[in-house]
Amino acid sequence: MNAARSLIPDHLLAQAMPLDPGRHHVLHAAAAQAAHVEWLYWVIFWILFLVFILMIAAFVRAGAKARVEADRPLPILEKDEKADRQAGWGVGAALGITVITLFVILVVSVITGKRVEGLTSKNPVTIQITGHQWWWEVTYPNSEADQTVTTANEIHVPVGTPVVVLTNSNDVIHSFWAPNITGKRDLLPGYSSAFWFEIDKAGVYHGQCAEFCGLQHAHMGFSVIAQSVTDFQAWQQQQLKGAAEPSTSEAIRGREVFLTHACLMCHTIRGTDAGSRVGPDLTHVASRNMIAAETLPNTAGALAGWIVDPQRIKPGTQMSPNPLAPDDLQAVVAYLQSLH
């Protein structure tokens, strides 16, 4: 695969696909699954490139041979048994080569599919990903309820460990697509399916919903944060804790505002009365890099803007506008920022 790719200089690739190659790129595999897909891409690319060259060559040759001079009348074709037979063989051979080529492409596709699907490890990390309009619910299920981690939009995974992803959707069809990691997977409502991947390069990879799912489909991003096993376990232990107790008076007031306004109708903060599962779990919201499904950075200003008028940032989003008094808004933002 890499030998095939190295024939094209990197800067040309970057021009063809201007997204940040390290974070969101089909041709920069960070996991074995994406490497298989990339291999398939290059095999088909070079086969079709060869076909293209041959087609152009045949076209040019035919054009050069059958040149007709303007003032001369078209020749009257006479029946020529020999030429007919030759042409018949030519068409037959081209047909045969086409069928063989398509068959080769079919075989490599099936081989790639098998490679991407197969998993032999008995000890994977299991993640349940549920699509919502327009965010991703991420749960690390465990038979012990209090050992289950729930977060949103940021998927932490250990490097070098198989990860099994169980999928489902809450409303419409979404599609999980992190091109550096594996191919697209549809999340279907009422239909639980599964796939797996194993990342071998630590880093933050970007993903995007790849099946049109409504107004804010384009603002339904997520990130996969691949980290060392120890970092992952530390993160998991941190996420298992209840919400941090607010320490400043402003944050304490913020919790009060959170629990007496619309916030608690949809969000969970474990350790408080807020326990609804409609919106993302906010127990450790300050530990995330982005909010609103990779739409805004997780800063005080962005949080405040999002709380007051999410419909301006993502029109049609399920979160309702919250016309809070300025003091209350500052307090809520301070409280949310204390939830590490």
Partner: protein, 184 residues
């Protein structure tokens, strides 16, 4: 004869055009102001006329299938089903019959949601924005058959006597042997 035919065709076309009003979907809902504060009643006794909140122009929620479907979704998400079931009632009164303890107008239902009622109905004022309360009121009315059939949503999936066609047995990844263990 021909004139009559022309007239009939023209009339038919006019009627068809009139039925083609495009539904508006409101993307930026008006933020809840404090307008309803004055209309929230503490008791049945109040000076002057008996005020019930006036609903926004009726086609905004009552005649929008989208708004009623949103109401259906909220009915579940905000756990109205916890007491009212899917309209059949339980801890709270049933909503799909003809008996209305506090009135069947959208404004009555809005007030019931926002103010709460004795014997258990909590107040959702400050908890949910007004437009959602109007959506819920529209859905509640649809359960009792007070809305046109065209905007009323179907019964929720949970109430179907057989599982929906899209529900299938759970899939497991191919090649996995045994039950996945949790990382230590």
């Amino acid at each position: 004869m021909r004139r009559v035919l022309q007239f009939v065709i023209l009339l038919g076309a006019m009627m068809a055009v009139a039925s083609c009003s495009r539904e508006d979907r409101i993307l930026r809902q008006p933020p809840s102001a404090n307008d309803t504060l004055n209309t929230i009643q503490i008791s049945g006794l109040n000076p002057g006329a008996n005020l019930i909140p006036t609903p926004p122009s009726s086609n905004m929620y009552q005649e929008s299938a989208y708004a009623v479907a949103e109401g259906q979704k909220l009915f579940e998400e905000y756990n109205c089903v916890g007491c009212h079931a899917h309209g059949g009632g339980g801890i709270g009164p049933p909503l799909m019959d003809r008996n209305w303890i506090y009135g069947s107008e959208p404004g009555n239902i809005f007030a019931t949601i926002m103010q709460g009622r004795p014997n258990g109905m909590p107040s959702f004022r400050n908890r949910i924005p007004e437009y959602q309360a109007w959506e819920l009121a529209a859905y509640v009315r649809s359960m009792a058959g007070l809305l046109p059939k065209g905007v009323s949503p179907n019964r929720p999936d949970q109430m179907n006597v057989k599982p929906s066609e899209s529900s299938t047995p759970e899939q497991t990844p191919t090649g996995i042997t045994g039950v996945p263990e949790q990382p230590k």
